[in-house]
Amino acid sequence: MPEPTQPTTGDDETTTPAASPAAAPATTAGAGEHRLADPADEVTEINPGVDIAPEDIGVPVVSEGERLLEVDEVTLRFGGVVALNEVSFHINKGEILGLIGPNGAGKTTCFNVMTGVYQPTSGAVRYLGKPLGKRKKFQITKLGIARTFQNIRLFANMTALENVLVGVDAHHTTGVVSAMFRLPKHRKEESQGYARAMELLTFMGLDGKADELARNLPYGDQRRLEIARALATSPQLLCLDEPAAGFNPAEKAKLMELIRTIRDQGYTVLLIEHDMKLVMGVTDRIVVLEFGRKIAEGSPAEIRDNPAVIAAYLGVDEEDAS
């Protein structure tokens, strides 16, 4: 599949710069004597220096602090199961909002309602003041809401770069005709899209793996690639569903930093996570669900001491749990 505008993807044997040095540590370990690796080099560095701010994509921009998204009295039933029960909360532009709660509380379902996977039984989700209504999933993405998945769902047989490009394409309009005649608009979109995708990969520290098939990436890289792909759609709101699942403490710390950096670039973040240290450390505000109902909302400090939250979610020995 020759792709003229993307010179590095055409050749599947291209050396990926980051791959070779990474192989080294395995051989440097002495025969009998083992030393524990420095936790720092276990985590791929991100590159906060790269600018990945959302491009101007023509969606109305709200200023910092205003309401970006509002969940209004949303109820969702699956047969007898009430997954969401009159849940209301909102997300302000520029904040990091945590969404926590016991297993099966309805957090992922909440994402699904916000991204058009499910239609609420009653209630509404309003984005920039307007109800999402019956919009299709891809239309909602174009409006500026992007997400990652609790169980990773990359395009397994596409390269990392291609995965991100699919996200970038969300705002492109090239059709068959402009591709066929290689119209200027098409060329511009391709080259700009490619540049942006590389930027995002670099930001996530994945630039060395641009040509790896997604399914061959290690678990952690796959999680990061999911975030890169979501960012590629230039969202106003980024929804992360348990991005730290399966990470060790050192990796979690890095992720925390990453989420902050993303926010600082101008994105709004909604975070589902069970790791309290991460949630408490990074969020501005937290909403707690239990059995599909909102049981608390407030700053991390308030939530930490909320007896209902402790009873339902944190358990007594919070220290050990994190």
Partner: protein, 382 residues
């Protein structure tokens, strides 16, 4: 740290494929090679190369058949290979194209071939949309049976509708306008070495009833155009959207891909190319009947795509050549040719499970798997 998934040792020159070696040639050499190759393809029916040339049936006609298979395979590859939609009724579009030509040039009107072919493409494309719009919402294998049903509905409608010529079909389909430019002599190998045979010639482009070579030339030209189209579209956003849809439809949708629209687009483009191919077939055959559009043909088309390597355009071309050519080559086996062909399909499936020329993604996966197999047996040291 993360263990690398590819390491430098894999890039020994020895493992370099043919493609890479060609890629490293200077540009001018490449162009010359391409021109020579194209010339070779054009002259192939006249070279009468021993062994390759079919004894049992007219080689020009066989090459034309192969060319229509190639065209069909390119179209079906968009549907099956790129968008991942299993279509078992592709012959329906082929029939729509052929019958549009038949009806408009012979049965009910006498329009010129030049006008009719574009109409056939459009009609086929529209039929693709009409079939796709309601049915593309059903998933996977359900689509397979629905499309299969479509193919049969088309055929049976042709059989049973007198307006379309019924089971007896449509005959006297006119030839395309000829432009008799020059004659091309053929080679004669009967003495063991090639001798230019000036008596047996083909006229460029004289569309007669008994020399199929010009039809082959026409088809070859059209294949070139379709290939170019395919390359340009596949390497654009459209191609990526298809691939993403095939990989994970929900995730694609959530990344902003209007999957339904792209599936429908794939269906319509595939149908258009199928219709074009059918139109060519009708032109050359001069006679079409519903028997020419049996369900079995859909299956052979699919076999061409899959055997070649769904998703790789060069692969499906090779697959189409295999499926179109071998049954003719096997005519020597007379009554046993279908048996031999069936065996060949099974052997290909078993020994080339990823197709003859797998798409890039599977080439990689395959390489990894091969190495893996070796290493896991413990026969190699890493």
């Amino acid at each position: 740290m993360s263990t690398p998934t590819s390491a430098p040792a894999a890039r020994k020159p020895a493992t370099r494929g043919f493609k890479e070696r060609v890629d490293h040639l200077p540009r001018s050499v490449k162009i010359v090679l391409w021109v020579l190759f194209a010339l070779f393809l054009f002259l192939l029916p006249l070279l009468n190369i021993p062994f390759i040339t079919t004894e049992g049936s007219d080689f020009g006609g066989v090459l034309f058949t192969v060319a229509t298979y190639v065209l069909v395979a390119l179209g079906l590859n968009i549907v099956v290979g790129y968008a991942g939609l299993l279509d078992l009724g592709y012959v329906g579009f082929y029939a729509v194209g052929a019958y549009t030509v038949g009806v408009l040039t012979s049965e009910h009107a006498h329009l010129s071939w030049v006008v009719v072919v574009p109409i056939a493409i459009v009609v086929a494309m529209v039929s693709g949309v009409i079939l796709g719009a309601p049915t593309l919402r059903v998933r996977g294998d359900y689509l397979a049976i629905v499309t299969l049903g479509f193919g049969e509905i088309v055929r049976l409608t042709l059989v049973n509708s007198q307006w379309l010529g019924g089971a007896q079909g449509i005959s006297d389909i006119p030839k395309p306008p000829s432009a008799e430019l020059f004659e091309v002599p053929s080679l004669d190998w009967s003495s063991g070495a090639p001798v230019v045979d000036l008596d047996t010639t083909s006229t460029f482009l004289k569309f007669g009833i008994n020399d199929f070579v010009p039809y082959y030339w026409l088809a070859l030209g059209i294949i070139g155009l379709v290939l170019l189209f395919d390359i340009l579209v596949k390497s654009s956003r459209v191609g990526r959207a298809w691939e993403a849809t095939r990989e994970d439809e929900d995730a694609a949708e959530l990344m902003g891909v209007p999957t339904f629209r792209f599936k429908l687009l794939a269906f319509a483009l595939g149908a258009a190319i199928g219709g074009l191919s059918g139109a060519l077939f009708a032109t050359k055959a001069g006679f079409i009947s519903p028997d020419s559009f049996q369900l079995l043909l859909s299956i052979l088309f699919l076999a061409a795509v899959v055997v070649g390597g769904a998703g790789n355009r060069w692969g499906v071309i090779v697959g189409a050549i295999v499926v179109g050519y071998f049954p003719e080559r096997f005519r020597d086996f007379a009554d046993f040719r279908v048996l031999v062909f069936g065996l060949a399909l099974m052997l290909l499936a078993i020994f080339r499970p990823q197709g003859l020329l797998p798409p890039r993604r599977t080439v990689r996966a395959k390489r990894a798997d091969d190495r893996q197999a070796v290493l896991e047996e413990g026969e190699a040291s890493a």
